[in-house]
């Protein structure tokens, strides 16, 4: 193998600056998408756990569609197709006046994709605690709505903090797709540095370490939440 190592390239301007801004963008897209995913996922997951009716069916369609179209295709739909099929005034506003259009599009697309995965976890969590607790809650005189709001949803969400860790990690990985619509996040910037300097080893190593560090932070954070209020805390309290 014939390769000229040059790790000092990473300390030269503008490459340090590029990689650092890429890391920041990756973190920003991941966090924003995760907020979208959690919000949509919890709502859809609760709807999906209902015993029947239109809400359950709507959530089912959402989950089926968004889990079975590749995320990159979803991103292209939001970016290229969505502005064309909405009413003209809305489409014009998206194209002309929407601030940071690529960023917003990426967050919406990744958030909705991850949300469909989160929804499945939420449904599983609610069904897991609900099989025992729903009859008990109804027997104490709570109405179904109250049983959901006061017992099933809070306990179901606490039970799935562990499984949600991997969904959070999937969201971080998916943030790299945004490079296809021109966002210079971590993966894009490492490629960028490789193209300019031919030091691919160094550039891709930085990106790899970046994702590993983000992954460790996510895992650590979720474990902390799990220990304080999540499934681990519930198991401790019940034993």
């Amino acid at each position: 193998m014939n390769y000229r190592w040059n790790w000092s390239i990473l300390l030269q301007e503008p490459y340090t600056e590029w990689l650092w801004s890429g890391l920041q963008l990756t973190v920003a897209i991941s966090l924003a998408s995760w907020v979208v995913a959690l919000s949509i996922g919890v709502v859809a997951g609760v709807m999906r756990s209902l015993p029947g009716g239109a809400l359950r069916a709507v959530a089912g369609v959402y989950i089926d569609v968004f889990r079975n179209v590749p995320p990159l295709v979803q991103l292209f739909l939001w970016y290229f197709v969505f502005p064309e099929i909405v009413p003209e005034s809305v489409g014009l506003w998206i194209k002309r006046d929407l601030p940071y259009p690529e960023f917003v599009t990426a967050v919406v697309a990744i958030g909705l994709f991850a949300g469909s995965r989160v929804a499945e976890q939420v449904r599983a969590g609610i069904e897991q605690v609900g099989s025992h607790l729903l009859p008990a809650a109804l027997a104490t005189g709570l109405r179904p709505m109250q049983a959901y709001r006061l017992i099933l949803v809070p306990l179901g969400l606490r039970a799935i903090v562990g499984p949600l860790t991997s969904e959070f990690l999937v969201t971080v990985k998916m943030s790299s797709l945004s490079l296809t619509i021109g966002i210079l996040e971590l993966t894009a910037q490492s490629r960028h540095v490789e193209n300019y300097t031919f030091q691919g080893f160094e550039a891709f190593t930085v990106a790899t370490v970046g994702y590993l560090v983000i992954g460790l932070c996510v895992t650590g954070l979720m474990r902390l939440i799990d220990d304080r209020v999540g499934g681990a805390a519930l198991r401790k309290a019940s034993s």
């Binding site: 990159l72 295709v73 290229f80 943030s175 790299s176 797709l177 691919g200």
Partner: protein
């Protein structure tokens, strides 16, 4: 919606089918190669020897933390360097897919093997079978049964993953559609078509799989 031009799909059918053939090739190679390499990694991870188990675990963890796009870039860059001459993007993408999916298949296979209770291995060894025979005749038949639905599910995920070769300009189904979308200025029709085709294939596969799984469990 009225100015949708569906004729564009009929005109570009052959080109799209070529793309789908490449997507299918990627799925096939990634699955066969990924299962073989994943099986090796799973055996390494289950080894008593830490010098064998720890590197395999590290490999799997790193691969599962990285985005596939970055892995594609890594191999696109590394493989010509390693073998000393340029190599097509198809070859490097195939290798990247095998290396990436192997980490996921490894975890499925490992879970399947762990699913078989240790008492069975002990009983097999006590009855005089050798380790390889226990694996071959007692553990693997049961592990295979447990892991089959997960492997089939992973194949659907691999099929979705193959769309990412867009970033190394390989002509898969999505990339070919995007080429026509750009050439003829018809992104709405082309991307809608792509989404519908993926949806039909993936959704019918997962539903069939669920149905089969429920029938088997009953």
């Amino acid at each position: 919606m009225s100015n949708f031009d569906w004729g564009i799909i009929a005109k570009s059918w052959g080109f799209l089918a070529e793309g789908m053939a490449l997507s299918a090739l990627l799925v096939l190679v990634a699955t066969v190669g990924g299962l073989i390499l994943g099986f090796g990694l799973a055996l390494m991870r289950l080894s008593q020897n830490r010098l064998i188990a720890v590197p395999a675990a590290a490999y799997v963890t790193v691969m599962r933390t990285l985005p596939l796009v970055l892995v594609l870039f890594w191999f696109y860059f590394l493989i010509p360097l390693a073998i000393g001459r340029p190599i097509g993007s198809l070859m490097s993408a195939l290798i990247a897919f095998v290396m990436f999916e192997a980490a996921f298949y490894c975890e499925i296979i490992r879970a399947g093997i762990n699913n078989v209770r240790p008492g069975q291995t002990e009983a097999g060894l006590a009855s005089g079978l050798r380790r390889f025979q226990v694996m071959r005749h007692i553990v693997m038949p049961q592990a295979l049964r447990a892991m089959t639905p997960l492997v089939l599910n992973q194949i659907v995920i691999v099929f979705q993953d193959t769309s990412l070769v867009y970033v190394v300009a390989l002509h898969d189904f999505l990339t070919n559609a995007s080429i026509i979308a750009a050439r003829d200025g018809r992104p709405t029709e082309m991307y809608t078509l792509v989404a519908v085709v993926y949806l039909i294939i993936c959704l019918s596969s997962t539903k069939a799989l669920d149905y089969w799984r429920k029938g088997r469990a009953a």
